[in-house]
Amino acid sequence: MNSAPTTWRIARLVAAKDLRVEWHSRIATNQVLPFAAVTMVIFAFALDSDAVLQRVAPGLVWLATLFSVLVLVQRAFAVEAEDGALEATRVAGVDPRAIYLGKALALGLQLFVLEIVLLVAAVVLYAQSVPLEGALLLTATLISATCGLAAVGILYGGLTAGQSGRETLLPLLTLPAVAPVLIGATRATEAARGTAGAVVSDGWPWLGLLAVFAVAFGVGGALAFGPLIDE
C-alpha cells in the first residue's frame, strides 16, 4: 500500500482535473470568454465617449474580470454538484485544503487567460497601450490580483455550493471582500500604462496590497474551506 499523497499533490490532481473538465466541456472558453468580451463592448455603449473610455479602461478590465469570476466560480462548483462529486470527495476523505488550493489554482489559471484576452480587448477597443517600463508591474499585478480573486471566489463558492439562493449569496459575499482587489488592481494597471499622468512607481504600493490580500485569503481560505463545506 502506498502512503497517502501529500496535500500539494492532491491539489495538483484537483487542479488538473478541473482544467481537464474545462478542456472537454469548453464552457469557460465558449461562454464565459464571450460574456466578458460583450461586457467590454457594453461599457463602451454606456460611457459613450472615447476620452472617458481611455481614462477608465483599466477599471473596466477589472470590472469585467470581477463579473467573470462570479460566473466561473458558479461553473467550478456546478461541475462538482452535477453528479455529487463534491460529496464524494468528502466521503473519500480528501483533504479539503487540497481541494481548495487545487480548485483555486485551476480558477486562477482560467482567470489569467481571461484577463489577457480582456487586456487585448482594451488595447483594441479602448485605444490602450502599455509602455515597456510598465510591463513588469502589469504582469505582477495580473498574477497577484488573480490569486486574490481565485482565493476569495473558491472560498465563497464552496460555502454557497448546493445551498438555495447560491446565485445571489455568492455575489453578496464576494463583492465586498474583493473590493480591495478591484481598487488595487485598477490603480496598479493605471500606473503601469500611465493613465491620467500616473507613473509606474505609483503602482508598487498597490502591488503590495494585492500580494498581502492574496496570501491572507489563500491561507485563510485553505483553513476555512473544510469547516465551510462540511455538514
Partner: protein, 271 residues
C-alpha cells in the same frame, strides 16, 4: 423616546395575562431604565446645554448620536469576532457563544445603518453633500455589506452546530477582510482629514461640555447595546429550543408511525 418606552413597558411581568414570560428580567429592566435615563440626558445635553462648535456650528450636535452609534457597531462586531473565535478554538462548543455572536452582529448591522444615515445628514450640513468617498465612510459601507452577508450565512439552515461552525468561520473571515478593505480605501483616498472630534491635538478646541455630551452618548448607547443583546440572544435561545422541540415532535411522530406498523420482531426497537 416613546417607542423605547413602550417597548420597555411590555417587558415587565403581567401576572393576569400569562404565567409565561418573555426575554425581560430584573436585570434588563434596570438596564432599560438606565438606558432611558441616559438617553434623556443625551437629548438634554446634545440638543440643549452643549454649545455650538466653532467650525461645525450646530451640526456638531449630530455627532453626539453619530459617534456613539458607530462605537456600538464596532463594539458589536468585535463581540461577534470574539465569540466566533472562542467558539472555533475553544474546547467547549457552547451554542450560546454562537447566539451571542449572531445577536451582536444583528444589532451592529442595525447601528451601522443608523450611523450611515445620520452621517449622511451631518455630511450634507458640513460638506454640502450626503456622501464622500472618504476612507472611513467607504470602509464602513463595505463593513455593512460584509455583515449583511454574515447574517445571510447564518440563515442558510442546517443543524445548530453547523450554523454555529459556519458562521463562526465567516465571522473570523470578516475580521480578516475589514483591515484589508480599510488599507485599500486608505491608500485610495489618503487625502481626507483625520477624525476631528476625537483627535484633540488637531488644534480643534473641544469644549468640556461637548466632550461630556459625547461621553453621555457613548454611555447611553452602550447600555442600549447591552439591553438589546440580552433580549436578542435570549430570543435566539428560544428560537433554537422551539426548533429542537419541533424535532422532538417529528421524532415522536416518526416512532409512532413505526409502532403502528405490524412489525414481526419488536425486540429490536429502541425507543
Amino acid at each position: 423616546m416613546t417607542s423605547t418606552d413602550s417597548a420597555l413597558a411590555a417587558t415587565p411581568a403581567s401576572p393576569d395575562e400569562s404565567s409565561r414570560h418573555g426575554t425581560g428580567t430584573k436585570a434588563t429592566r434596570v438596564l432599560g431604565v438606565a438606558t432611558i435615563v441616559s438617553m434623556g440626558w443625551l437629548l438634554v445635553f446634545g440638543l440643549g446645554f452643549s454649545p455650538a462648535d466653532r467650525d461645525q456650528e450646530e451640526a456638531v450636535r449630530i455627532l453626539y448620536v453619530h459617534v456613539p452609534t458607530i462605537w456600538v457597531a464596532y463594539l458589536g462586531f468585535a463581540v461577534t469576532a470574539l465569540c466566533s473565535g472562542i467558539y472555533l478554538f475553544g474546547k467547549k462548543k457552547s451554542l450560546q457563544l454562537d447566539r451571542i455572536a449572531g445577536a451582536s452582529a444583528e444589532i451592529a448591522v442595525a447601528f451601522v445603518a443608523v450611523t450611515l444615515a445620520v452621517g449622511a445628514m451631518w455630511g450634507r450640513i458640513t460638506w454640502g453633500v450626503y456622501w464622500q468617498w472618504d476612507a472611513r465612510l467607504t470602509t464602513t459601507a463595505l463593513l455593512f455589506v460584509t455583515y449583511i452577508g454574515y447574517l445571510a450565512v447564518r440563515r442558510l439552515g442546517g443543524s445548530h452546530e453547523q450554523r454555529a461552525k459556519r458562521s463562526a468561520v465567516i465571522g473570523l473571515i470578516a475580521v480578516l477582510e475589514v483591515p484589508l478593505v480599510h488599507w485599500s480605501v486608505r491608500l485610495w483616498r489618503s487625502l481626507h482629514q483625520e477624525a476631528t472630534v476625537l483627535n484633540p491635538d488637531d488644534g480643534v478646541q473641544i469644549d468640556g461640555l461637548m466632550l461630556f455630551s459625547l461621553f453621555v452618548g457613548v454611555i447611553a448607547f452602550t447600555l442600549l447595546y447591552a439591553w438589546l443583546l440580552l433580549h436578542r440572544s435570549r430570543g435566539m435561545w428560544m428560537e433554537d429550543v422551539l426548533d429542537d422541540r419541533g424535532l422532538d415532535d417529528a421524532l415522536a411522530a416518526r416512532r409512532a408511525e413505526a409502532g403502528g406498523r405490524p412489525s414481526p420482531e419488536p425486540a429490536g426497537e429502541t425507543s
